[in-house]
């Protein structure tokens, strides 16, 4: 091991880095154990944050593809269906481009629940008019199809207020989003017949002229029997909800952190004790306590960076290659057993990687600080005797 630390700042840093690498190689089993421990304790936090980011991104796509305002009835402080003919009143408001009535219901399919969605397409310029299935046919989410053993062309019985047989005309693929997984889309008159409701709709999707949404929302909400949600408001929900979810994940990690620190402390102590004599030699050669401290902290920082990189790589493989096997149900309720039929949304850029790196550095340096300090402040004579 080189003991010279003279020279320029760059040369000195290079020497220290080289010595830190030598130190890690010399105690390779300890290094590998720490890297593996950091990776294992961090990978699921990184996975969770990445899935949370992915869900948020997917929700933003969903928002962009939707209308500007969502109008439902307010009955006793809760959302309720409203009369379909109210659409004509809304269409007359200045700034309204299109009002689309929707029915969103739910029904039981075997052991699972399915959302049933339809919208009334009256405007030929509405792009959805080409995609909606004709009467007697349905489009089905891939996870529901997998669970129920449905395939394209199969005739299936759906039961709500009445029952009817439909032909599966197509499946939404695994990448169509979490919201599509258990959704059945059908034609307008079919859904009215299935739920035995012809007068009522779940809500109206209102497309507005640019810059008119806020004013229109106020004007519609003046009728206290209506509840209006704007795109901006929903964006706020999303932001708050997914930030909160990330916060909860980090809080859970704080518990793991509290348990992990003493373990890492023990590992660090085990690693430093045999080197006390070596550090004593360095100090006898003129190294200051600061130099020794920097060297050992550099070793810990290298371990942290390697642990964080391993955690990100393992998390990526786990989520992207193995589709978040075993942990998907925890992050996306109801998704257990949908492997292959539902792509788990995830985004590894930005926050998950940054948080993973910071946590790894915090974990190894916090745990190693005490043993490093103890070893670097031992007088050379005492260290040589140990």
């Amino acid at each position: 091991m080189a003991t010279e630390l003279r020279g320029s700042w760059g040369g000195r840093a290079r020497n220290l880095l080289g010595m830190a690498v030598d130190g890690l190689i010399a105690s390779r089993w300890r290094s590998l154990t720490i890297i593996a421990s950091v990776a294992l304790s961090l990978f699921w936090v990184v996975s969770g944050l990445a899935i949370s980011q992915g869900l948020k991104g997917q929700a933003q796509v969903a928002l962009q593809g939707a209308g500007d305002l969502f109008v439902s009835a307010d009955v006793f402080g809760a959302d309720a269906p409203l009369k379909g003919d109210l659409a004509n009143d809304l269409r007359r408001l200045p700034g309204v481009r299109r009002v689309t009535p929707r029915i969103i219901g739910r029904l039981r399919v075997g052991n699972a629940w399915a959302s049933v969605v339809s919208r009334l397409v009256e405007d030929p310029s509405d792009l959805a008019s080409n995609d909606l299935p004709p009467s007697g046919k349905v489009l089905v989410g891939s996870a529901l199809a997998k669970r129920s053993g449905w395939k394209v062309g199969k005739r299936v019985l759906l039961e709500a207020q009445t029952s009817a047989v439909f032909e599966v005309a197509g499946l939404f693929d695994a990448g169509a989003g979490v919201g599509s997984a258990h959704t059945i889309v059908m034609e307008w008159s079919d859904i009215q017949r299935l739920f035995q409701r012809t007068e009522f709709v779940s809500d109206f999707v209102v497309d507005c002229e640019p810059g008119r949404a806020a004013r229109l929302a106020e004007s519609i909400a003046a009728d206290r029997s209506l509840r209006v949600q704007t795109k901006d408001l929903v964006e706020q929900y999303l932001d708050r909800a997914y930030t909160r979810r990330a916060g909860v994940l980090l809080l859970v990690f704080a518990g793991v952190f509290a348990i992990a620190v003493p373990l890492f402390l023990l590992l660090a102590e085990l690693g430093v004790s045999p080197r006390r004599r070596e550090l004593g030699v360095l100090k006898a050669c003129g190294w200051t306590t600061g130099d020794v401290l920097v060297l050992t902290l550099l070793e810990n920082a290298l371990l942290a960076v390697l642990g964080a990189a391993s955690a990100v790589a393992v998390a990526w493989v786990w989520v992207r290659v193995f589709d978040a096997f075993w942990i998907r149900g925890f992050f996306i309720p109801g998704s257990t057993g949908t492997e292959g039929a539902l792509t788990v949304p995830s985004e590894f850029s930005g926050m998950p990687v940054l948080v993973g790196g910071l946590l790894a550095v915090l974990l190894t340096t916090t745990a190693g600080l005490l043993s490093v300090w103890r070893s670097s402040t031992v007088p050379p004579a005492v260290a040589m005797q140990s």
Binding site: V21, D22, I25, S52, G54, L55, G57, Q58, A59, V61, A62, L63, A66, F70, G77, A78, D79, T100, R106, A114, S115, R119, L127, D131, A143, G175, A176, G177, V178, G179, S180, H182, T183, V185, D203, V205, V234, Y237, L238, A241, R245, V248, L302, A309, S310, A311, A313, A315, F331, I332, P333, G334, S335, T338, L342, P345, E347, F348, S349, P352
Partner: protein, 96 residues
């Protein structure tokens, strides 16, 4: 010694590259931008912004536009009236 150090540096570089690659490859084309997701949203008029697969409990956690309040919430009293398995999804407590 020098050979061992080089091998060590190589191993460190390999681990770092795999970590960095994980999120740089990721940025190339996230699946959520895919046409199938956009097509689904177009057909439904916008549905499913929560990270929940099925409306087993309520629609609120799946999409607060369909049901803007959590049916189990006891507002203004903190807490829930019953256990809700979707509470952990985040959207079920957006404070609206």
């Amino acid at each position: 010694m020098k050979r061992r150090r080089n091998l060590g540096l190589l191993a460190i570089a390999a681990v770092l590259v795999s970590g960095i690659a994980s999120f740089t490859i990721d940025g190339v084309g996230p699946a959520l931008e895919g046409t199938s997701a956009i097509r689904f949203q177009r057909i439904t008029g916008g549905f499913g912004i929560g990270g929940v697969v099925e409306p087993s409990w309520c629609f609120h956690a799946m999409d607060p536009r369909r049901e803007s309040l959590c049916p189990t919430a006891l507002r203004p009293v903190p807490g829930l009236s019953t256990y809700c398995p979707l509470e952990s999804t985040g959207l079920s407590d957006h404070g609206h």
